[in-house]
């Protein structure tokens, strides 16, 4: 078996295969980046909606709670299928990448909104009251009072979620988005042995994820102490 793997090795690392895998890796990264950026924006919106008060906005608040609770409790694969078929129904002729990106955004916004909410809750109640006493509105309080204190608490778990998320995008291969896992399946179908192909792809994922995980660990180490020293 080992000789066979050694024989295949030069062919697998031929120019076109390497370019193919590199492009697939870029697709994986793009998918995660879109999910995280749009997801963060949506998540912030959801948190803000949940912080509003008054009866007029109550339905909106309920929707936000419902959205977060549902999408945190549905597997990514099922969300992917739902979004996939929903786009098919609507008749919108979108590329598969957009479908995958949309479902990635949905899931990311649900999970990130819980992270952001926990960060906001870590800011002392008095700070909110002080902001209210200064006649700050919701947006102003968040912008000038809460976010400057909460970001230290939000950033480490958000970053580890981003890193986790890169690996979750592997499921997008199931609807045919050409990302790393799909590239592995294609190469496997071309006749390269599974051990070699999937081993290589595991290494590529590792090479992407490990440095980011290290950055995340450093962020956590750097931001955590100051969190406790705050009065």
């Amino acid at each position: 078996m080992l000789e066979r793997l050694a024989q295949e090795l030069p062919a697998l690392f031929g120019y076109y295969n390497v370019v193919f895998v590199a492009k697939a890796a870029l697709a994986t990264l793009a998918l995660s980046a879109v999910g995280c950026l749009v997801g963060t924006a949506l998540a912030l919106g959801l948190v803000l909606v949940r912080l509003t008060s008054g009866w007029t906005l109550a339905p909106l608040r309920w929707f936000a709670i419902f959205f977060v609770e549902v999408f945190r409790r549905v597997p990514f694969l099922v969300t992917l299928m739902l979004v996939f078929f929903a786009f098919q129904l609507s008749g919108a002729d979108l590329p598969l990448f957009a479908v995958a990106a949309a479902s990635v955004c949905l899931i990311a916004s649900a999970f990130l909104s819980e992270i952001i909410r926990a960060g906001f809750e870590s800011v002392h109640r008095n700070q909110w009251d002080a902001a209210a006493a200064m006649n700050f509105g919701l947006l102003t309080s968040v912008r000038y009072i809460v976010l400057p204190q909460a970001w230290r608490v939000i950033l480490p778990p958000a970053f580890s979620f981003f890193v986790l998320f890169i690996k979750d995008t592997a499921l997008a291969s199931q609807i045919g988005v050409i990302e790393l896992t799909f590239a592995a399946k294609v190469l496997n179908n071309k006749g390269f042995s599974a051990a070699l192909v999937f081993g290589t792809i595991l290494v590529v994922y590792f090479a992407i994820s490990y440095p980011l995980a290290r950055v995340g660990a450093q962020l956590e180490a750097r931001l955590a102490p100051s969190r406790h020293s705050r009065p």
Partner: protein
Amino acid sequence: MDYTLQFGQVWPYLPRLISGAILSLQIAVLAFCGGLLIGTAGATVKTFGPTWARRAIGGYVVFFTNTPQLVQIYFLYFALPDAGILLSSYTAVLTGMTLNAGAYLTEIQRAGFESRRQSEMEAAEVLGFSRLQQIRYVILPHVARILFPPLSNQFILMTLGTSMAAIFGVEELTGQAFNINAQTFRSIEVFSVTALIYVALTLIASATLGLIGKFAFRAKMRFA
């Protein structure tokens, strides 16, 4: 867009979805228990073991937490037959999930082990506790209280993760949904019912774990 949702066609298949949900839960529980064993051993070695063993466990954890579970299972399912090891899809998924869970649970439990305080142990020693009594009455309650919330959180994430088994043809909840979708072509209906079953499943699991945590370990549970 002229499509009428027809949930009526999905209801007859509900028993199959429910049996799939039970299989999902079974996979999650088995993988979690296996992972807990690996994790406990791994965390013990990582906290108290010799340097080479710590490095080995560290390598295992770093590798499994930095690569996608899906590709790990692909590797087990498609690459091991080359080496003469033929796993059924169920075994491959279970093995992959267990190994993956073991890595995450090692990390979680290591953090818990490190939270024990030297002063606590010394206090127990002053009171004349034996080593075993120290573990039973001081360390275990303390560590369990700290560890219970992140462990139950991991269990919920793993329950969602079992949907991956569908890709390998295991007929758990998502697998049944794929089958029923292929039979009825009522995709939206089938998958939204499936999604709701997952929501119900994880809500029940969270509530149960929350009660256990509250009464058995006095853990501070935060289930929104």
